[in-house]
């Protein structure tokens, strides 16, 4: 598994995701946003969390049009894997690789806390190390994570099994309290049509060591590196 992490001005979680991938056994290289190609042999392109371009205009809007994103788009079109976390998910939506948009959290607050997620399916390249309906403990840190799309898009995502993770309580129930940012259908992450692109707001890369609170995030990187 060769992973290329695209670094934008204002990315700040690139080192964390690099560490999580390396721990899982992947080889990691970094790519600058102005680069026009991904390194040869790239299996996975990663868009890390952070505040690319200071969130100017809209979160992920300017990064979504960066030169490196043309290379990521071409990689995805060839069936290559793409993972966008937090700001990376916002960039995927802004670049057209995933549908919908991440709006301001419903209560207008930046949220930063531990978060339980329900794994909606365990048969994709990102989730084989988890079980379907498993509840995992990771965390969230964002101001704009309120997933929104028109009714037709939501129906298509649900009908095609493209919801990857949902905000839930300890029993796996989708409560209003668990869905702090107000996302439609408690959506925390979605897949592209061919299931090779995943975007999610929570940070699985935060929870890969007992030392910092948990290891439930490891499954995502272990699935990718398997």
């Amino acid at each position: 598994m060769r992973a290329a992490i695209v670094v934008f001005p204002g990315s700040n979680r690139d080192a964390d995701v690099a560490r999580a991938l390396t721990q899982a056994g992947a080889e990691v290289v970094k790519v600058w946003h102005a680069d026009t190609e991904l390194p040869a042999g790239t299996d996975l392109a990663v868009l890390p969390g952070g505040f690319s371009y200071g969130d100017y205009l809209r979160c992920g809007a300017i990064a979504g049009r960066a030169a490196a994103m043309d290379a990521v788009r071409a990689h995805a079109a060839r069936g290559g894997l793409v993972l966008g976390i937090c700001n990376g998910f916002q960039i995927l939506c802004e670049s057209g690789l995933l549908p919908g948009v991440l709006m301001r959290n419903v209560d207008r607050r930046f949220i930063c806390h531990r978060q339980l997620l329900r794994v909606e399916r365990a048969d994709t390249r990102f989730t084989t190390a988890y079980a379907k309906d498993q509840v995992i403990d990771v965390c969230v840190a964002h101001g704009e994570g309120n997933y929104f799309a028109d009714a037709d898009t939501i129906a298509r995502l649900e009908g095609d099994g493209r919801v990857a993770f949902r905000y839930c309580d300890a029993s796996g129930a989708l409560t209003v309290d668990a869905n702090r940012n107000g996302s439609l259908n408690s959506i925390a992450g979605i897949y592209s049509e061919k299931l090779n692109v995943l975007g999610l707001m929570p940070h699985p890369e935060n929870f890969v060591e007992d030392l910092v609170g948990g290891t439930d995030g490891r499954g995502l990187f272990a699935s990718l590196a398997a």
């Binding site: 205009l57 809209r58 300017i62 948009v101 301001r104």
Partner: protein
């Protein structure tokens, strides 16, 4: 040539900032405010004086970057 682009949220899209502003106005004791929606204004300077070309450039700017047409509408005004 100068132009102004106004980007607004589409009807039905939740606007937490607009709601907060509305609540603040109401808290000042201002009556008669029924709703607030927050948008963006871009003032653009354009080279040349070809109006049609300017409109095409501005439309491309809106579609490519300035508006997210999933949730936003835009209006172009050449001043």
């Amino acid at each position: 040539m100068k132009a102004r682009i106004i980007v607004t949220l589409k009807t039905g899209v939740l606007d937490p900032q607009g709601k907060a502003i509305e609540a603040a106005l109401t808290s000042f004791g201002l009556s008669g405010v029924d709703g607030v929606r927050q948008g963006k204004v871009f003032d653009v300077e354009l080279a040349g004086d070809d109006r049609a070309a300017a409109e095409a450039t501005l439309k491309a700017a809106c579609e490519k970057l300035l508006a997210n047409t999933v949730v936003e509408n835009y209006a172009i005004e050449i001043l």
